[in-house]
Amino acid sequence: MTSELPAHMRPERSFQGLILTLQLFWADQGCVILQPYDMEVGAGTFHPATTLRALGPKPWKAAFVQPSRRPKDGRYGENPNRLQHYYQFQVILKPSPPDLQELYLKSLAAIGIDAKIHDIRFVEDDWESPTLGAWGLGWECWCDGMEVSQFTYFQQVAGVECAPVSGELTYGLERLAMYVQGVDNVFALNFNGREGAEKISYGDVFLQAEQEYSRHNFEFADTYMLFKQFAMAEEACKKYLAAGWADEKKTRHLMALPAYDQCIKASHVFNLLDARGVISVTERQSYILRVRELAKACGAAWLATAGGGTA
């Protein structure tokens, strides 16, 4: 598949080439290739195409890039591999196919990781998201000692048992690209695969943003506004959830998605407040619980929609 590509499009030459190759691979496996969700999230798992679609009986296959924001991980662009904004490539397959590991290994082969010369390992890593009320079992996938992906069989999402079980693959795109490009600093990644004057690096695209957002996340993010926003998102989420029930018996819900957006919003605002260091240890737990309550209620609402399996 990749050998026909021009050099600058190849996964080991450019960051975008890596993304394109993964998209092509999973499209070929029957996945819906989605575009990123248009809200700030901490990980691809927050995308409703993962969180909500993992719930209910309907089969689902999707893959997408999700820009992810972890305000606390900002390092003012000074750390070679920590970023407050980075890309995840998510694959979600429901039900998890019996050959999911083989498919994953094939996807690595597609981006140029040859299992004959690289040591690929599945190392225990149980996944848990306290804010989403979700957990699963799986592995970190190592390539020559470097973690390049997370592999999870969802067991519970939004407090609901997953049946069927979804398999979720998350590729840390920057790490993976650094590996296949043989680069030690994320900002040195070749983004567009061109050389010389035409070359655009990851740093060209994102270094300024890392510096500015680190300043914002740690020093200037308006905490007064954020506290308000948290409360407002929480309130709106509850309001939409309450208003969305179509009938007295609560068998059908008509606004699960808009409500879930507010849950995502609250979660991100909480992450910003946390980065600003204005949430104490004890408060922290209670904020997490508040987001989890929203996520659970959204999950319950989703199950009462067509997407969640209610005819």
Partner: protein, 771 residues
């Protein structure tokens, strides 16, 4: 006799669960075999990252036959009763039954012979049961729940249900949804004698049919393999690049790593925990060596090791001459790479370089901040919801360490300094990344900022002893801080009533108490535990500094005079010239303190008993000593227990104990009979036999002498004093009758017997001694 081979082939099993799972499999299957009457010669279980296997040798072909008698109706019973009996017992006619007499007449008895079932059938039931109930620490489901009788959809899009012969719809049923540690892919279950082609033990679970096939190494030999029996299985796996036995994989890794290191003049830093883990991560271990920039060797060796070990699961090497780490590491791959491992080594080196740069950055960042400058941050860190912040806890440790300093012969200024700094490394980057380096990093950073050597060492050593086998610190500064740290945590959790219960001890309080005991005994410290307890206690209960100080001194005073009530202590204090406000020392706090101190002391007593029992001492002697008033000096308690033990080994000791028991028995019986206590002093005028007078006299002298010796802490002498009682006690019992008719005389003699009881309390509470 036939052998059984099982293999459960799955996606990667967490390394930490493999050994336990193999053992569980062996036990579960063999227990069920035995319960089904199928004994066996031997069984061995194995685990790799992708498979659990069990080989059981020498299982009989059939279960033994079982004979059973079934009692039927009386002879001459109604016909339908007889018919029912024939049916139930499986007899053709009543002639096949025996007739047996009973008290009530003759009865029919059927002799039922249950032939044993074929072992293979029984195993086919046992194995699915084991799979379904397997005790994985964490297990999961995968894919879709398996449904039966799912309707099909026809070309018109109509749903066609599954029907039975009569055309009735069969409802959809879902099987129990299997849980396994990770998705299970195939199962080998074969049974047969050595010389013949074995049979497949047939069953199906979660859509997986048992078979005689498995798969080789994920990358090097993924093809299907057909196996015949255990030896064949092992050798075919080996050909397919799978070493079944974890112990062998570990041996291979260890030997290869050692040789590879040796060939280059280095020495492997052995690490059994890591070795076991790595052996659980590979089916075909391939040992490779990589290196990193020498510049990283500026970082402390432990940090390098933690980085390489925790994050990359690689081993470090050292120079055998200097014992210092070298810039090499050993990794264990799971494949024989076609390029000889070049790409793997290069990849690993890159990851390790990145990790070590992080570690170096952390270490250098840490060095820029003085440890004491980190202290203000503790104000915002909660130690425990009910016990306040880390800052408060550190303040308590400082206070107690200062109090303890003179007792452990430490310089109070240095002890205070060490206590102040001992937790500060918790806020450093390196410890944040590698919590297991807490203490050690504190020492390095303290040294780097020019702290006194003893202070720096205390930063590390105050956590010791961490377990029953850990070394006990001997440097007085470390001892002071170690005691303060441990006593504070004990008092804190006692004050909020979160003591260990049963197997639950989340704050490792038993370990802390044992640590205190070992610190005291090993360093021969004279320490009043009650005093030590009172320091953190008052700090927790009183916020105001002045109140705290006064209350603290009062509690100490009170504890030194155990038994004294609050008023006495208050008066004593007033007389000593210190102004005491009545509210400074509240009754309820006093009561709480006494209760906590006593409870904590008995917790120490229990730990001490465990400790002494492990050393072969008698735990009842610990009780006998602790039962005395005011016992809070562990060193003296241990000395007294030792002296008591030696004394009780002598004839004098044994006979005195016997005499004591005899005396207390008599008193108990008589007290019960008379419903009164014989506790007062006997009247010397009523002594009318020489033995009485002699006994009374020796009791007085023995008591006085023993008390004097105890006060001088010469417990051997105290025991010798007690020994002098023995001939007189014996003579008393021989010549004097206690239960005489003269009531006054009898009472006086009982009171004299009671004096034996009270005299022995000068050395121990003999009633707690067994035997």
């Amino acid at each position: 006799m036939p052998d059984l081979l099982l293999e459960f082939f799955s996606e990667e099993i967490p390394a930490r669960m493999q050994a336990r799972a193999a053992e569980d499999l062996r036990k579960l299957v063999t227990d069920k075999l035995v319960a089904a009457g199928l004994t066996y010669d031997g069984a061995k279980a194995f685990a790799t990252p992708r498979r659990l296997a069990l080989a059981v040798q020498g299982i009989p072909v059939r279960q033994p036959d079982v004979k059973e008698e079934r009692k039927g109706p009386r002879v001459g019973a109604p016909e339908n009763a007889i018919a029912g009996f024939l049916k139930a017992a499986g007899l053709k006619s009543i002639g096949e039954a025996k007739v047996q007499p009973d008290k009530k007449g003759d009865f029919y008895v059927a002799l039922i012979e249950k032939p044993g079932r074929a072992a293979i059938e029984v195993i086919a039931e046992i194995v699915p049961e084991v799979i379904k109930t397997f005790p994985w620490p964490k297990s999961m489901r995968w894919g879709a729940r398996k449904m039966k009788n799912v309707p099909t959809i026809n070309a018109q899009g109509q749903s066609i249900p599954v029907v039975n012969e009569k055309g009735k719809t069969i409802p959809v049923v879902s099987d129990d949804w299997l849980s396994w540690v990770r998705p299970l892919h195939s199962i080998i279950a074969i049974f047969g004698p050595e010389t013949e082609e074995p049979d497949i033990v047939k069953f199906e679970i979660e859509g997986i049919k048992s078979s005689d096939t498995t798969f080789g190494h994920r990358f090097m030999a993924p093809a299907q393999i057909k196996v015949r029996r255990f030896e064949d299985y092992v050798s075919k796996l080996e050909k397919a690049k799978v070493v079944l036995d974890a112990a062998r994989r570990a041996e291979m890794i260890h030997a290869d790593a050692k040789n590879l290191a040796f060939a280059q003049g280095f020495e492997l830093v052995t690490d059994d925990g890591l070795l076991a883990e790595v052996a659980g991560l590979v089916e075909w271990p391939v040992v490779l060596m990589g290196e990193f920039d020498k510049a990283f060797l500026e970082i402390p060796g432990e940090v390098i090791r933690a980085t390489i070990r925790t994050n990359q699961k690689c081993f470090v090497l050292r120079d055998p001459q200097t014992a210092k780490l070298v810039n090499k590491f050993i990794m264990v791959a799971n494949i024989e790479a076609s390029d000889g491992g070049k790409a793997i080594v290069a990849g690993c080196e890159r990851v390790i370089r990145a990790r070590l740069s992080d570690a170096k950055f952390f270490y250098e960042t840490d060095l820029k901040t003085k440890l004491e400058d980190r202290l203000p941050k503790f104000e915002h860190i909660v130690f425990h919801e009910k016990l306040g912040t880390q800052k408060e806890r550190i303040e308590r440790i400082v206070r107690l360490a200062k109090e303890l300093a003179p007792i452990v012969k430490a310089d109070p200024k240095k002890a205070e300094r060490a206590a102040l700094l001992c937790k500060t490394d918790l806020l450093t980057e390196v410890v944040g990344e590698f919590p297991e380096l807490q203490g050690l990093m504190g020492k390095y950073y303290a040294e780097a900022q020019g702290e006194d050597e003893a202070v720096a060492h205390a930063c590390e050593d105050h956590y010791k002893p961490k377990g029953p086998d850990d070394l006990v610190p001997a440097d007085p500064i470390s001892v002071a801080v170690a005691l303060a740290d441990k006593i504070d945590i004990l008092v804190g959790f006692w004050a909020i009533d979160e003591k260990p219960t049963g197997s639950k001890d989340p704050y490792a309080l038993r370990r802390a108490a044992l640590g205190v005991i070992r610190l005291i005994i090993a360093n021969e410290l004279r320490l009043s535990l009650a005093m030590a307890i009172s320091v953190p206690f008052t700090a927790i209960r009183y916020e105001d500094e002045r109140e705290r100080r006064i209350s603290n001194s009062m509690l100490m005073m009170a504890m030194r005079q155990r038994g004294a009530d609050v008023e006495t202590v208050r008066r004593f204090y007033r007389e000593s010239g210190e102004f005491v406000h009545p509210s400074d020392f509240e009754e309820h706090v006093w009561a709480e303190f006494v209760s906590i101190a006593n409870d904590l002391l008995s917790f120490f007593a229990d730990r001490l008993k465990v400790q002494l029992r492990e050393q072969g001492a008698r735990h009842d002697l610990v009780d006998a000593v602790f039962a005395l008033e005011g016992q809070d000096d562990l060193l003296m308690i241990v000395r007294r227990v030792e002296a008591l033990g030696k004394f009780l080994d002598t004839d004098d000791g044994k006979n005195l104990l016997a005499g004591y028991k005899r005396a207390t028995n008599i008193i108990r019986i008589e007290e019960k009979k008379d419903k009164k206590e014989y506790t007062g002093a006997p009247d010397p005028k009523l002594y009318n036999q020489a033995e009485e007078k002699e006994l009374a006299r020796t009791i007085d002298t023995a008591k006085a002498e023993a008390s004097k010796s105890v006060a001088a802490e010469d417990f051997a002498a105290a025991m010798s004093a007690m020994a002098k009682l023995r001939p007189h006690v014996d003579a008393f019992f021989e010549k004097v009758t206690v239960n005489v008719d003269d009531k006054a005389l009898r009472e006086n003699r009982l009171k004299l017997l009671n004096e034996i009881r009270s005299a022995t309390r000068a050395v121990a509470d003999f009633s707690k001694i067994e035997g």
